[in-house]
């Protein structure tokens, strides 16, 4: 349904610049009205927007699955906000610096009332160019937030030297190679890069493509959009030939691809079983699939053990029919995943 209210989740470790970004979103003349769910009242003071305080209550579901959690406060607040539907165009959820984005995302999949009225648009993570590397070592939350992101603002770039910046960028890529990464000062960015991303929309899984292909050669010249943001440093000319290639010890992505058609009767039991057994360590997964004797592309994505997928559209004439999946998670059993996926070929 198209009349679902889009929800952007803002995460980022303490001091990275979430509030700066939030203030920018609320004060720029974009003609949109936002309902904002904040965790600390009083930090922002924009009169004509709806501002609600959240409690970050993470509730476990009674389904025997420890990673199936929802944000109880969001269930309540979104239900309340929807009574004023029409008074705002979108919702922004600001999380605390220590928050895990997964329960926020899972709320949209697991609560039918929330899922019917609102949809997750993107998880936007603000990272501090100067301090992120330290936080990745000592704060598991910071790593989760990077791993979970659809969009990353590498902020405060003016405070670090160029080699330090490419170092931290490489660290981020080692954890999450497919998020859109923007280098910013004081969160200065063209807002369409942050809002209205549709990153959780199954139709938009192709968005992962530039970085997806990057795991081999790092040719992401994604300056194909929004050339109008002037001196924002927002558009990315990252000719990453010189970018170091890090492998994070703990958090990795595994990307799989095959041009042979898959057998759905093998693939679905495999992926279900994989997320059942490895769900706690899989933060997110996304994929585009080509099944044997099926002329439609199948797209899916998931958070921990929850998977959501559907036929998207027919394969175009001349389009290369291949299947691609990526998993991002903690200590992923890469060999087991590769082996299992290889066994799904029809």
């Amino acid at each position: 349904m198209s009349d679902k209210v889009p929800v952007t989740v803002l995460t980022g470790y303490l001091g990275a610049g979430k509030t700066t970004l939030l203030n920018r979103i609320l004060s720029e003349p974009h003609g949109q009205k936002y309902a904002v769910i904040v965790n600390e009242f009083g930090e922002i003071g924009i009169d004509n927007d709806l501002v609600v305080g959240a409690d970050e209550e993470v509730f476990e579901m009674n389904n025997g699955c420890v990673c199936c959690t929802v944000r109880g406060d969001l269930v309540r607040i979104i239900d309340g906000l929807m009574r004023r539907k029409g008074k705002f165009d979108a919702i922004i959820v600001e999380t605390t610096g220590l928050a895990d984005p997964a329960p926020v995302a899972q709320t949209f999949f697991m609560d039918d009332n929330v899922g019917r009225k609102a949809k997750l648009d993107a998880v936007v993570t603000v990272a501090d160019a100067k301090w992120l590397q330290h936080r990745l070592k000592d704060a598991p939350e910071a790593k989760n937030q990077i791993a979970f992101a659809d969009v990353i603002l590498l902020n405060k770039t003016d405070l670090v030297a160029p080699d330090e910046l490419s170092e931290v960028e490489a660290r981020i890529r080692g954890i999450n190679p497919y998020a859109r990464l923007h280098k910013t000062e004081r969160c200065r960015i063209a807002l369409p890069e942050v809002l209205g991303r549709n990153a959780f929309d199954l139709d938009r899984i192709m968005e992962i493509e530039p970085e997806f292909l990057g795991d081999g050669g790092h040719h992401h010249h994604d300056h194909d959009h929004d050339h109008d943001h002037g001196n924002d440093h927002g558009h990315e000319h990252h000719h990453d030939g010189g970018l170091k290639h890090y492998h994070d010890e703990e958090m990795q992505s595994v990307s799989l691809r095959t041009d042979q058609p898959l057998n759905p009767d093998k693939f679905f039991p495999w992926v279900q079983d994989l997320v059942q057994t490895e769900g706690p360590s899989i933060l997110r997964c996304k994929g585009i699939l080509s099944f044997k004797d099926d002329d439609a592309r199948f797209v899916f994505q998931g958070v921990h053990m929850i998977l959501d997928g559907d036929h998207q559209r027919p394969w175009q004439p001349g389009e290369k029919r291949e299947s691609r999946i990526i998993f991002i998670g903690r200590k992923l059993p890469e060999d087991k995943i590769r082996e299992g996926f290889a066994g799904c070929v029809a």
């Binding site: 609600v52 305080g53 409690d55 209550e57 509730f59 476990e60 579901m61 009674n62 389904n63 929802v70 109880g72 406060d73 269930v75 309540r76 607040i77 309340g80 906000l81 929807m82 009574r83 004023r84 539907k85 008074k87 609560d111 039918d112 009332n113």
Partner: protein, 335 residues
């Protein structure tokens, strides 16, 4: 497509339409006046004769409502608890000191009132004395027991039972998970909560025995005991689900009665105040009156529109108020 209900008795032609003009979130009766609570700001009073009129109550969303014979009590995102009478007079009963959302309100015996904001539950007796209790997490729902000043407060990992005029410690009933709406059986023997998962949980208060009522397709958002308390009518399925509470064990070890099957979710249920009849509103706008004994159905509203969001009987059971998500509403006269 053939309509399986093309030939059932109908009371649709007895409907007096009311233009609520905005999404209806609840309905009540004050005497013969039907009251439709809107999602934002106001209530619409529709007297039996004469024009319906809008009465402002809150400066924002109306999050919760409850009613006794004389007044409707509403809680808003403006931090206010407001009472409205049949003449449309509104009185602010309380204002939250921190302007928090008033998530839940409940009315009890002898003019008692309860409301909650965040983790705090407030009780005010008919005489005006007030007490506050903080529970372990945000309050999911409130309900008074039929006798005494005893409040059931649902929250994460269980329920708190509080005799609000006694000095005794509140009782905690534990059950893992997030408990939302709560109802107490009319005989006061059972407390039932709806959970974040599509299940109900219940306790028999005499021995605190747990009971689980599961099998739903969706979160149960409507719970209502039948006249006399023999059945608990619930939404959460494409049928009307009724749990038996007539025996001493309640629904323990029993299966529910399943009536009025459709293709879409039942959204709201309202039990007739005198007879064992349930009004059920569905996601496509259909409203059926269902007799529990034999499942006989009467068509009250045709299903071709927005979801039903509110149903209420008047005290004598001669009129049914119906409200929908698109602002369509009406009163069906059955007298």
């Amino acid at each position: 497509m053939t309509d399986p209900r093309a030939n059932i008795p109908s009371v649709v032609e007895r409907t007096r339409p009311v233009k609520a003009g905005a999404p209806v979130v609840a309905a009540h009766f004050l005497g013969q006046t039907a009251v439709f609570v809107l999602g934002e700001g106001a209530l619409v009073l529709a007297p039996r004769a004469g024009e319906a009129r809008s009465v402002p109550a809150h400066g924002g969303a109306i999050l919760s409502t409850a009613a006794d014979a004389d007044r409707i009590v509403t809680g808003g995102d403006d931090g206010k608890v407001v009472a409205i009478d049949a003449e449309g007079h509104s009185t602010t009963l309380a204002t939250d000191a921190k302007q928090r959302w008033i998530d839940h309100v409940a009315v009890g015996p002898a003019g008692a009132l309860a409301w909650s904001a965040g983790r705090e539950a407030f009780v005010r007796t008919g005489k005006g004395s007030e007490r506050t209790l903080e529970v372990p997490s945000t309050v999911g729902g409130l309900a008074f027991a039929p006798k005494g000043l005893r409040l059931a407060i649902a929250h994460y990992n269980g329920l708190t039972l509080w005799f609000a005029n006694a000095q005794s410690e509140p009782e905690r009933l534990q059950w893992k998970g997030s408990h939302l709406d709560v109802v107490v059986s009319p005989d006061g023997r059972f407390v039932i909560t709806s959970m974040q998962e599509p299940t109900l949980h219940g306790w028999r208060l005499a021995d605190r025995k747990d009971m689980r009522m599961s099998g739903y397709g969706a979160r149960v958002r409507a719970l209502d005991f039948s006249a006399g308390g023999k059945w608990l009518a619930t939404s959460g399925s494409t049928q009307l689900i009724l749990w038996p509470f007539q025996g001493k064990d309640g629904p323990m070890g029993k299966t529910p009665r399943i009536l009025a099957p459709t293709e879409v979710q039942a959204e709201v249920v309202a039990c007739h105040p005198k007879q064992e009849v349930v009004a059920v509103g569905y996601a496509d706008g259909l409203v059926l009156l269902v007799r529990i004994e034999d499942g006989a159905e009467v068509l009250a509203r045709k299903g071709a529109g927005a979801p039903i969001t509110a149903l209420a009987w008047n005290a004598s059971g001669t009129a049914l108020a119906v409200g929908a998500e698109d602002g369509e509403a009406g009163v069906i006269d059955l007298g």
